[in-house]
Symmetry: C2
Subunit: 135 residues, 2 copies
């Protein structure tokens, strides 16, 4: 396979990783994702790894890289669907995925992203504070 | 790979096909999809084939099967992201994907599904016809 498809869903991009991320494929994914964030103005990236059962330090580093790159481009990254065994392995490898948000499934990941983006998009709502109701 | 992951997104299920659908994988996908439709009460199935560049009559038949099975379970199927070459090959093979809805990308596919489901879910809206405004 040449590249992993990236699906645009509203303000988010969705990537489902179903195959082993060998070096070239991972680099292509990084490039494609950042290009898509730039082209579409996406505010969030969802990476589904529910089909990934074996993980190594390379995979952990790639996820961290994507999150860091996306953040510079003003998009948050959420990794969803991690299998319990993968979480165990990541921690045993000493990879705590710092800077990467995680959620149990795609729906929860989308809610998390909406919360994150909502915080940044609606700062004016805080001006209409709850003290108005005291009058 | 054992199985293709199926993502639940609201009332829809999303499947991204990134690998060749050999016999056993296709049967597993059919079974998994129908089980998920039954378990989650999903009203629509989105199948993204943007990563599929080579298609044969088997693949065409599988897509038709999934659509037929889903319809019996009260869910519509939309195939999205078809590459032009795949469309050409399908027609040359004599497979016109009857009963399968298609859309250009996931977003358009979701809109199509929402339209389809809206028609079935809101029949009462037609009772409040436009003739009310003539009074």
């Amino acid at each position: 396979m040449d590249r992993i498809p990236i699906l645009k869903m509203g303000p988010f991009l969705l990537v489902t990783i179903q195959v082993d991320l060998y070096d070239r494929l991972a680099l292509t994914l990084e490039n494609d994702l950042i290009s898509m964030v730039s082209k579409t103005g996406a505010r969030g990236v969802l990476i589904d790894i529910s089909a990934v059962s074996i993980v190594d330090s390379f995979m952990g580093r790639i996820l961290g890289n994507i999150a860091s790159m996306s953040r510079i481009m003003d998009a948050e990254t959420v990794v969803v669907g991690m299998q319990p065994a993968v979480a165990i392995t990541l921690v045993e490898l000493g990879l705590t995925l710092q800077g990467v948000y995680t959620a149990l499934d795609v729906e929860k990941g989308m809610e998390l992203l909406q919360d994150k983006i909502g915080i940044f998009e609606d700062p004016e709502q805080e001006k209409e504070g709850p003290d108005d109701s005291d009058d």
